[in-house]
């Protein structure tokens, strides 16, 4: 009988280990790295035939991933209507915004179908679209067997629908290619201000950027002596996050005719260090130093919004919804004293405005695509959105019909300047960033650079460094 000595045993174990070790190697050659586009040419939408029927997926259950937001609160409050209408059960998880996108990213990148539908921003299409994680909703929208006749695609504001469309190809603009999400709620970036302090100090909303800078500093100096203890001029975001760049900063940047990237020789070239952009960035940092929040570098929209509500900030240059939630009756000490204004114009009178589009998307790996599509069209349909706008706080309608609805207008008239501001900027509001897959890296680094300029470093040096760092990352 053979003896199994130590060497032989180790040999066997080694072989087993090698086999185990080979598993990832083998899988790497196939699908071991997770991602991979699921699109094999056809769409699951093509399998839906016959007459449209809301009950087509009756008895199914779908899972939704939602961000904690007044828009999702309104959706959750109305979910029973969807289940009654379709016979589909919706299970959902809600996460706060700080963790939401990490959760979504990790989940989608795992290649599992933990969630059939989820909230996302239009910028996320640039990150989630190219790996094939998002279902192209175009075929579903075009299929009359899958989509209700009264869903009415033409009723969406076209700039919002286009924000979620992209070809996924380097260097191409938005509004072409697949529809990777549907606009559901959006936010335009404007100035909200405290009418009480403005009246007391005899101020009117700034019409130019220089006026805004001066006004913010004046308020910080004079408001505490006028009965507004600890009040500063203007609240804008400042944390080291991509989210710092996209609201007020990008809006004012765009109104100056400035770009994040320009195409040069077939490659994107960072334009944040353009002399005009450097000058603008320096002024923005000075505005915060002289008229902004203390501890600005930690400011997210939560702090900005609550400072306006707590009468700590005289102005908020951010998403209109961030101010609206403080303005509604009984919501904050400043409620009833908050008004809206489109914000300063650019040197040539531009009111170009950057926007955030809360959208709904479908997991390309979902096993319940028909049910998921029924949910998406219900959630973005007229019936739910009208109810959410009038009874809930879903205040920036993505549909033209709701923005013109008498009941909606009556409700919003209670907030001074809201409707006028909305109507002034709606046509000039679009995504002002260049769509590209390194968006989050670029804007996070941009926010870090802004913090350094605020901290006293030379703006040109910092922005030149940023451009140098980003150039190879965004090259085609």
């Amino acid at each position: 009988m053979d003896t199994m000595d130590r060497r032989r045993f180790l040999g066997i174990m080694g072989a087993s280990a090698a086999a185990l070790g080979a598993a990832p190697a083998l899988s790497a050659c196939g699908t071991g790295f997770g991602g991979g586009s699921s699109s094999g040419g056809g769409s699951a939408a093509d399998e839906v035939t016959g007459a449209f029927d809301w009950k087509r997926a009756q008895g199914k259950t779908i899972k939704a991933l939602l961000n904690k937001h007044p828009y999702s609160d309104a959706l959750i409050a109305d979910l029973k209507s969807f289940s009654d209408k379709t016979g589909i059960k919706v299970e959902y998880d809600v996460f706060p915004e700080d963790n939401y996108f990490d959760k979504l990213t990790v989940d989608l990148s795992s290649g599992r179908a933990s969630y059939d539908v989820f909230m996302l921003g239009a910028y996320m299409v640039w990150q989630y679209g190219p790996p094939g994680w998002l279902e192209d909703l175009g075929p579903w929208m075009r299929n009359t067997a899958a989509t209700a006749g009264d869903w009415d695609q033409a009723d969406f504001f076209p700039n919002l629908l286009q924000a979620d469309q992209w070809s996924l190809k380097y260097g191409t603009p938005l509004g072409q290619g697949g529809q990777y999400a549907l606009p559901w709620g959006w936010e335009t970036n404007v100035v909200a201000y405290n009418t009480e302090v403005f009246a007391k100090l005899g101020l009117k909303p700034a019409e130019t950027f220089d006026e805004l800078i001066e006004m913010a500093a004046t308020i910080k100096q004079k408001a505490p002596g006028a009965g507004f203890d600890g009040m500063y001029g203007v609240a804008v975001r400042g944390s080291r996050s991509w989210a710092t760049i996209h609201p007020g900063f990008m809006t004012m940047y765009s109104r100056h005719g400035l770009k994040d990237f320009v195409m040069s020789g077939g490659n994107f070239k960072p334009a944040m260090n353009d002399p005009k952009a450097v000058d603008f960035t320096r002024k923005w940092a000075d505005m915060i130093k002289n008229g902004g929040a203390p501890s600005w570098t930690s400011y997210t929209w939560y702090q900005c919004s609550s400072d306006l509500g707590a009468r700590k900030a005289a102005m908020l240059f951010d998403a209109d919804s961030a101010a609206y939630f403080q303005a509604i009756k009984g919501a904050s000490p400043a409620s009833g004293k908050i008004a809206f204004h489109p914000g300063p114009k650019g040197p040539d009178g531009s009111l170009a405005t950057n926007m955030w589009v809360w959208s709904l998307g479908m997991n390309a790996k979902s096993k319940n695509k028909t049910a998921a599509w029924l949910f998406l069209q219900w959630a973005t349909g007229k019936e739910h959105l009208r109810k959410a706008a009038i009874e809930g706080n879903h205040i920036d309608p993505v549909r033209k019909s709701i923005s013109q609805d008498a009941a909606y207008k009556d409700k919003m008239k209670a907030i001074p300047g809201f409707l006028e501001t909305f109507e002034t900027v709606v046509d000039q509001t679009k995504i002002q960033f260049t769509p590209q897959t390194q968006f989050f890296d670029a804007t996070t680094s941009w926010a870090a650079a802004l913090q350094e300029v605020y901290g006293g470093k030379d703006a040109k040096g910092v922005l030149d460094g940023l451009a140098k760092d980003l150039t190879p990352k965004v090259a085609g």
Binding site: T3, M4, G34, S37, P294, S295, A448, K457
Partner: protein, 326 residues
Amino acid sequence: MTAPTETDAGAPTGTGGTGKTGGTGTPGAPLRVPRWRRSLRPYLLIVPALLLTGGILYPFGLGLYYTLFDFSATKPQPDLVGLENYLTIVRQDAFWRSALVTSLYAIGATAVETVLGVGVALLLNRSSRLGRVLEKVLILPLMIAPVIAAIMWKLMLQPSVGVVNYLLRPVGLGGVQWTDTPTGALLSSIMVDVWVYTPFVAILALAGLRSLPRSPFEAAAVDGAGWWFTFRRLTLPMLWPYVLVAVIFRFMDSLKVFDIIYALTEGGPGDSTVVLQIRAYLEAIRFQRYSLGISYMIILWAVVYLASMVLVRYLTRAQRRAAEAS
């Protein structure tokens, strides 16, 4: 003694004279176990340990393997790039900035926690009613998740509405911008770490103090040695191995810090508090450059491993010296 069911070590050789009880063998004779089974037994005993080790090493090995590719969300079918990810990292200024911040953080936090922790332990070692109460209170920060502690401190350090500046206002320091400057942000992060983990060092040091032999101290007292002499020549050398254990744990942990800094500053202002873990997280999760993110983690692992090797060697020497001293 009960009859053996298997032959013992050193028993039968040759053609197998032993049988087994019952069955076909001679009644009462020991069981006959094939030689290959006897040879295999020691190895079978270590199988659970091997599986456990494999379970630990497999993800590590897989991670290491991924660093050899350019795997990212936009490139789910990656190319083999060898060591290019590591080279890319070490060529980046950002990496060296993060390495410096990580080192400053780990050294600063560990040093302060060690000094404070040992000091607190020395104070608590004098048995008193207050000391016994404080011992229990002391471990409270350890029961709070570091990320919660950081958020709590973030609110307390908020310049306009935070309680810290409110308390400092009477002495003219009410306007401190705790996390708005690079130095302030780093020091504030270290302060939160110190608040959370000093009790850990104190508890270890206190346990050490209470396990020290009494006789050398009694002898020193008889000889009229002063407090400082006793502390320097007896307490500290004998306590040193315990302190070193705390230092090793805290230093390793501080090198891998993520939660406290991310919750407090998100790595800002600028890049001033972007430690290696945050850089890895940003690369792997936020920017979805998985291979680059994992490469950062492997580099961090190597740093932690080397640092632990040095410290453990030092600990062994200190233990030997402490044994000689006692």
